[in-house]
Structures are given as C-alpha cells and as structure tokens.
C-alpha cells in the first residue's frame, strides 16, 4: 500500500529532494479527492494549498460575465496545481474546476510557508521547483498567445 511519504517522494516535482525535506513536506501533505464538476478552489479565495494531481483532469477557468467561465488551461496527471500560495497576497487568480473525478495530494501552503520561513534551505528547494513550473506555464501561455495558426501577423 502506498504511503503518503512514498507518493510525495516519487512525484517528479519532488525528485531529488533531501530525505529530511521530504519528511517536512509530508508533514504538510494529505490525500484528497474531488468529484467531477467540483470546484477545487475559486478565484478570490485565500490560496493556502497546492495540489499534486495523481489522477483526473482539472481546468483553470476565468469568470466571464453573462456566460459560463472560460477555460484558459487544462491540467492532468503529474501536473502541479496552484502557485499563488507562494506569493503574496496568497489569493487564487483563477477557478480550478475538476473536469473528471480527481485524486490529488494536497499540500498545506500555510504550513509549508512557515516551515520555509524557518528553514530557508527548504524554501530554496521549493522555489527552485516552482520557478521551473512557472517557466513552463509562461512559455506555454506565450505560445498560446502567439496564435501560431494565424495567417497574417
């Protein structure tokens, strides 16, 4: 049976993390499930958690007046959901909407923020990893914006 420790340690996001740090992280981790259609978080909510998606699909949405929210990105297995917990004012900028039944590891952001404040080495390890995620998302977003399929520039 998979322990939380095992799942966290094996997740690509935490690869290479010191055993001690992994323990620290696991201390803030828990297993969660969402049903298809459920909102994991909403724009404007306090951002105190992030998720490692283990199964299922999640859509990042933006609220649009007069009609249903617009999906700006979809995330799936192995993806990290949420980084607003890392940067002030710690508030979600988008909705996260489970498109299918979703299983994830939830990491308590507040708990982790405190641990990072007292252990800067842990903080550095987490920031390194999140920098990579942000870079990937920024690159993808830029490509989406580029409208590569357009016929005229």
């Amino acid at each position: 049976m998979e322990t939380l420790e095992r799942i966290v340690a094996d997740h690509p996001f935490f690869q290479g993390l010191d055993h001690d740090f992994t323990e620290l992280v696991v201390g803030c981790a828990s297993n969660v499930r969402f049903k298809a259609g459920e909102y994991i978080f909403k724009e404007g909510d306090p951002a105190d958690t992030f998720y490692l998606i283990r199964e299922g699909k999640v859509a990042l949405e933006i609220f649009a007046p007069q009609h249903k929210p617009i999906i700006v990105s979809t995330l799936g297995v192995g993806d990290i959901l949420g980084w607003s917990w890392l940067v002030p004012p710690y508030v979600w900028k988008f909705h996260a909407h489970g498109i299918s039944d979703t299983r994830a590891i939830a990491l308590d952001g507040k708990c982790l923020r405190n641990k990072c404040e007292s252990n800067h080495d842990l903080g550095y390890e987490l920031f390194k990893r999140f920098a990579h995620i942000m870079e990937q998302r920024l690159e993808s977003t830029r490509f989406q914006l580029l409208d590569v399929y357009a016929t005229r520039r």
Partner: protein, 280 residues
C-alpha cells in the same frame, strides 16, 4: 481504368471538382476526379500537387485524401489570399489543373511495426491524414496510433467526424487541444505539447510525424526529444515559397535543400541545425 501516361511535369492536367466540404469558416476540402474516368495520379502520403486555377495562379497543396483510392485526389485548402480564395470558390463541375505529385513523403514504410505518433497543428492535419488512412487500412502492420491535434479554437478543428471515428479504432488514441476554448469548449486547453502526458506509446519504438506552423513543429520536436524519441525518428514537413514544384525556380531552397524535391518531409536530424538559422 486507363493508366495515366507519363506527362510533362510542367503541364497541368484537368481534374473536375466533384465534392466540396466546408471544414471551418475559411477552410474547404475539395475532392477532384480526373476527366474521362482516367485513374488519378498515385501518390505517397506527404506529397503535394501544384493546383492551377485557370488564368489565376498556382498553389502547392498537400494531398489530404486516401492513397488507396485511384479515382480521386483530395485537397484541404485554407483561404488566405487571391489564389487560395479562387481555389476554394470553385464549383462542382469546374476544372482545376493538377501537376504532380511531387516531393518526398512521410516515412510510412519505415514506421511499420512501430508506434506511430501524429502531431498536427491547425491545417497541418491535412498532409498527415493520408498517413492515418494508410495506418488504419493496414492496422496490423503498425503498433499504437497516437494522434495529437492542436488548433487555435474549437471552430478551427478539421475532420471532426473522422477524428471521432479514428478514436474508436483499435489501439488508437486521438487527443485534441485548443489555444483558446471560448465559452463552451470543455476539452483540453493549452498547447499541443501539453497532450504528451496523456499519450501512450513506446519511446524506443515510435516514429513521430509533425506538421503545422514552423514554431509549433520546433517546440513539438524539441519536447518529443525530451520525451526520449531519437532525432532520426522524428519527421517534420517544411514549407517555403514555391513557384514550380520541380526544382527549377529556386524559390523553395532551404539551405542546400529544395523543399519541393528533397522534402517537404525531412528527418528532424537533418533539419535540426537549419531550424535555428534566422533568415535562412
């Protein structure tokens, strides 16, 4: 059926427009048949024809139909200028001049026994469709078939019904994504590389064929390499200005290669050093 005689590659042969399908607001598929019940020119997936609209101009267009059908040639064209607009405005019964087929096609034979990964962007699915037809018509000769397709928005999707039908085939995966979903799209949103995490194939036994805008082919090929595919097993379809299609006009040169004769399909190992050369 009368076999096509060898023809001067610079003279167009009349083909008659038989069917017109509107795929998207600006993209149409035209099915052409030779006159007099002749056989159509045989072609390999990835090859293109030079299509001539009487007195207007000529276009290099990839053949997007079934290679196994010898009574027709099918093309999917997006209207972007005078010549393409004239082409898609043809009516049933009109004659269009066809030269070709020309060019080096996709490595369909080399892919036998392996997993086939098709990555298409926008209208890039059209030159890849003949590969899909070939693989599905000879299903047991190939491993898994993975089709990853990205477009700007849902209304730009080509061949919707076929995409659904292909998804139902044995050992076949079809995943589509859009850059921007709009109000009602509930599928994947993001660039086509975000679909890789869902694709199931054997890295060591796969051949990838990529077609779409050059930027897209670059970042897809790069990501496929990161996924463990060897450069020799990744293929792209390049595009440049073409006037003749047979290597005389000099316009389509890309480094030392004539895209009309040495391409349009190239192995990524060969093309990789050229892709970075700005204004080559």
């Amino acid at each position: 059926m009368v076999a096509m005689p060898a023809v001067d590659p610079l003279l167009p042969t009349p083909y008659i427009v038989r069917e017109i399908t509107k795929e998207t607001p600006d993209t149409f598929t035209l099915m052409l048949r030779p006159e007099n019940g002749d056989s159509s020119s045989p072609f390999l997936p990835g090859q293109f024809s030079m299509l001539w609209v009487f007195g207007v101009g000529e276009l290099p267009i990839s053949i997007s139909g079934e290679p196994s059908r010898h009574d027709r040639l099918t093309y999917t064209v997006r209207s972007v200028g005078q010549a393409t607009h004239a082409f898609i405005s043809q009516q049933r019964g009109d004659a269009v001049g066809v030269r070709g087929p020309f060019g080096v096609g996709w490595p369909v034979a080399e892919a036998r026994g392996r997993d086939v990964i098709i990555v298409a962007g926008g209208i890039g699915l059209a030159p890849l469709r003949p590969v899909i037809y070939d693989v599905l018509a000879n299903r047991k000769d190939y491993g898994r078939l993975v089709i990853l397709y990205g477009v700007r928005s849902p209304r730009d999707l080509l061949y919707r019904k076929e995409l659904a039908a292909w998804a139902r085939q044995r050992d076949t995966q079809v995943l589509t994504t859009v850059d921007y979903g709009g109000i009602s799209w509930r599928g994947h949103v993001g660039v086509v590389t975000t679909l890789f995490k869902y694709a199931r194939f054997r890295q060591a036994q796969a051949v990838a064929m990529i077609c779409g805008p050059e930027i897209m082919m670059r970042f897809v090929a790069r990501d496929l390499e990161l996924q463990g595919l060897a450069r020799e097993n990744i293929y792209v379809s390049m595009e440049r200005n073409m006037k003749c299609g047979v290597g005389f006009c000099g316009h389509c040169q890309y480094g030392p290669h004539f895209i009309c004769k040495d391409g349009p399909v190239f192995g990524f190992d060969r093309i990789r050093p050229l892709l970075d050369k700005y204004e080559l």
